[in-house]
Symmetry: D2
Subunit: 383 residues, 4 copies
């Protein structure tokens, strides 16, 4: 049996949502085990959270600096292989920088950081340290997203002309941040979430999905950002027109005031000879419409899918896989890269398949440029 | 039995598409019969088309002027009650103006005319003549569109915050106008179609659908118009950001290069307390998501629908109605108004329910403003 | 222009449902016009119904015998070409027999008659008279049903192994026949509907759909018929196991107590190398699952469909057609056969495509055998 | 932190499918850890499988007897809390009996055993030993199945009249057992699978789903079992008519020759005042059609769901959960019962929610009675 990697988590303690998803995703495949943590922003909650999760007392820390110091003191065969950072956004930069600088591999949630300066700082840090860095744009881990990416790359829809990506949620249609909902609280707080609300929280996923599947590079954009809920401090609705290098165009919508929408992320890619259509809420299906025949319903687990989708699949067709498995696939990619590096061979791109620091940095730039456009009377802004 | 109205048709002869739909829609309910016509742009095809449709020789005309002259010579009990204009767009203005000025009621296809000047000219003409004027924005005739309109008006989704309307077609993804396809030919020819391609042909339907259902009035827009197919002379792809009076926002997409999409018109309206979602390809269903309960699938023919949807319904629930019935509903609205005027009473708005000349004029202005935005570096343009 | 055929209608007057559908279907394509009728079961309602429909007084009859007598007195160039019989079931046999015996072509609603004796009597009558006889199993007229039939015939799914057909309605989940609902009244009355309720009313459609698409011949069946609504006199729920000649098997469900189901007729055909799946409530789509590739969504109007579907299509793909068009297609088939006979040439099977008297007779036998099985402790009964 | 339970697995080694699913399901929630095993039917594969999974050498056994002996020798604080039996069916009885008799809690895959005699033997054994016994009818673990059960119990659809359950798979449409597919091999082998093929493998799931959701008890059934693939030794297609105590009726279909169907388990329950409709391939949605309003789309994670669905939910609405989570929910139920017993309090039924030995025994009886009916000329057979 291959050795399980050891990991620590920063953030994700009591009251958090996504930290538990990261842990379940890692538990699912059994390739890594949680051995240490600094799980919340106050010492009391941090330590209590660690006890709940069964961390040993000497690896359950009140803050992330203490965690890092402790890890650096430990012997190699005990030290964590990577840290998973699942705090509110404002902590991503200092934590990720410190661990990476210390030579510890990093997985960080999205959006990566608040500013492009921070992103570039991270890029420089990682370049120096040589650590692996993954960003949990989890939707990129769905097998049918990988199939879509493979189909575009293989020319199955010809040249991409237009992209429509939309991310409709409704949970912030009212002023939920006025309640004790922790998720709503930090996501609508500029100090913790950054200058973007829906744009940063889910618009960044939409941007990444487009980039992942199509490989297109943005040339310019025009953003209309709105705040519909009275008293809210960040945008809760974003609509953007996009132009890509090479002539493709796009529309990106990200909203959290769409009553009745749960987590409705959808991507359509229109090419010269075909169309792809994928929805996160039915992630096992990808519609492929070739120009010369009927629409085809591609499903996860089918023998006619490509290798990257196959590798991201655990169960036979019709036995649905979902959100946690997609998350786990991102982690499997990072872990494959870490193992390759530890064992001194070049990572196999089919296995070391995960969003990178460059993806995260581009996502930050996307948010900045959208904010810039919105702030300058919604003018078109070069990317 | 109520007397059948008599109507003439201008356009819609051999090789045309939509004229036959108008005729079938009128035949379906048996409230009007075709008695005269000038059915094509050349005398030969016009006369041949009329013979095929069984027009009497003396009412089968080589051109619309001859038709009009002849009708005006006829006695009232023989003269047409209305004319249906289904020519390419460039003829809408002269034909509609002449018939309306002569006191004959008019039904005209959309987009109404090429310019706002023409539209205003028509408005003045009709104001003087007092004729009924209907515009066949046929999608407004679907029962579930009328239900959506009624729900918005009744406050079922609160105040409208955001509208997403999209009209995806794929039939012009290649240079079909290079073949002998008549539809593709005139629709991509600026002389006959006007200065807008997809924007005018289907974007105008999308604009009308938003206005019909929400009653919102445009305040400004930002349009990105593209021509993807090499050699095409008009736009085949349009993406717009919209702002409405009162603070609502929107996105409008109209494209004819979306391979695999057939006639995929969809409207989503997001309000403070609910959402509506309707797709033309499954027209008998309207999804209503209230903020305080599960999504509800409203279906045509259900007892819990409102009066305007009920009146637009012919068959029990589950016995699907479709495109032609929606078209017929628009005509029933116009006919109800004509009958009311003929009989000297005020039209019942529930029955005289159809898009009006004002709708048509607003649609022309929408196209103009979108072209203006696109031409001025895609700047936001006041409506 | 080809001459419009003249037809009379028996039944279908005030308060009826399906008669108006027949008339709209015939009006849609303009190939036949209603010139005479005996539209209801009482003279008063019959005459009032005819006046509403604009029948001339001398062709508006108090009863069907008077209608028939009058037609036979008329000259050939005035006489009806066919009669459309849309009465409750108990009148099908005498009316159809009388008109056919008199040499007038007949279209009769389903189920054809009450007993196989009556069906054979009709078959003999028609054999003698040589008249055309169509049965309005309207679902056979859907273009995608015809495509399914063509695909099976062409071997696209190999040899048929299993058929699952279901017809779920909910409108009789309560004792609607206790109200003034005319449809519920006669359909649950053995004297007018025959010995079968849901089995006859909609189970017969299901049987016909299977036979139309697969061509399979029943070998034996086992029927469980139930009456769930207290006080109802006929079955409102039927579940059958089927065996076909050659080894295929099947399940047929027909129920009218399925709350929330509207008109949910669905057919699945499982073959050795593929599957077909069609639902009446989304009639423009047919799912074809080949064994060696992804499911394909075939849509009406697509260029890759066969000739029989193409001929049954009026509008481009994405412009939905529905119930009335399917009905109209059945009539177009009958009319094509009548015209061929009138003009003395052999009918083209692609055009003269409609359910025949033999289909109707087989449907009656199906009902009889199901009743026989249910009555004999639900034993398997040879067909 | 609550102590993790310790478990051993019998079966589920190299080449198996479902064993890995059990392990992932248990890993997901981290409430139990695999510490021992006898993972395959040959010593070599068993030991190799255990090494792959990281079992300690002294807890990695060549056969299940050795595993059991070893566990019984161990101290209580080291001994497994339960065994998970995921072998082919023929080993369920001896293994489950031996462990239960020894006082070790058991989770066993379905169908439970080959005969009702074996099932009753197990029931007696467990009655004596007092051990917890869970059966992994995994579909019962889906949150929306639990919601359906709660809705029926609460009277939301009135009295159940009819049930239609279907389980369509296509993977055995060809003679896959002729290849080296282990799953196809043992599932079509009477010695290992029992006397039933599709009926036992998936029909048993369908039976359990009906019983779970409705609580109805079978009164009689009529089964038509077929073997379509030449050379196959067990049924690959089953169609049954059902009658339940109290008057409800049903149809059950289970087939593995439905080309293009993946794992299409669907349950519809028709009551006097409403209908429920659930499909395994979109497990997060349950359709509820009340008699007096539109269909409602209930989704996992919504605030208006009941407690049992809420407890089975890990992620917010729109973040799909799927097959493994449902499996995990069954295990959580068993684990809750084990913990309650270990701690000496009565299990909370909301938490100790899992299929029991009685469910397993009833499932065996269902298979026997279906085989009996099929063998006796498909006569109705009392349950």
């Amino acid at each position: 049996m291959t050795r399980r990697l050891r990991y620590a988590m920063v953030g994700g303690g009591q009251g958090a949502f996504i930290g538990a998803v990261h842990r379940k995703a890692l538990a699912l495949d059994g390739q890594a085990e949680l051995v240490a943590g600094a799980l919340a922003s106050t010492p009391e909650r941090a330590l209590a959270s660690g006890r709940e999760l069964g961390l040993a007392d000497d690896r359950n820390h009140a803050d992330w600096q203490s965690l890092l110091d402790d890890e650096l003191r430990r012997a190699a065969d005990e030290r964590i292989d990577f840290v998973s950072i699942v705090t509110p956004n404002h902590l991503h930069h200092p934590v990720a920088k410190a661990f990476a600088a210390a030579g510890i591999h990093v997985v960080c949630d999205k959006p990566l950081v608040h500013t492009s300066e921070q992103a570039e700082d991270l890029l420089r840090t990682v370049e120096r340290s040589g650590t692996v860095f993954g960003v949990t744009y989890n939707y990129s881990g769905y097998p049918m997203v990988r199939e879509a990416r493979a189909l575009v790359a293989a020319g199955a829809i010809g040249e991409v002309r237009k992209v429509v990506v939309e991310y409709h949620q409704g949970w912030l249609a009212t002023k939920l941040e006025g309640s004790d909902n922790k998720q709503a609280g930090w996501r609508t707080d500029p100090a913790r979430s950054g200058a973007a609300g829906a744009l940063g929280d889910i618009g960044s996923h939409a941007e990444n999905l487009v980039a992942t599947v199509t490989g297109l590079e943005l040339e310019s954009l025009c953003a209309d950002l709105g705040t519909f809920v009275p008293g809210r401090r960040l945008d809760d609705d974003a609509s953007l027109l996009l132009r890509f290098q090479g002539g493709a165009r796009g529309v990106l919508m990200a909203t959290q005031i769409a009553v009745g929408c749960e987590n409705d992320l959808r991507l359509r890619v229109f090419g010269t000879t075909g169309t792809l259509d994928w929805r996160q809420e039915q992630p096992d299906t990808l519609v492929h419409a070739p120009i010369d025949g009927p629409r085809r319903l591609l499903t996860r687990g089918s023998p006619w899918l490509g290798e990257s989708a196959r590798l991201a699949t655990r169960l036979p067709a019709g036995h649905p896989e979902a959100f946690i498995e997609a998350f786990a696939n991102v982690y499997l990619g990072v872990i494959a890269r870490i193992r390759a590096q530890q064992q001194g061979f070049a990572p196999d791109p089919l296995h070391a398949d995960h969003p990178t620091l460059a993806d995260g940095a581009r996502g930050v730039r996307f948010i900045e440029k959208a904010l810039e456009s919105a702030a300058s009377e919604r003018k078109w802004t070069a990317f």
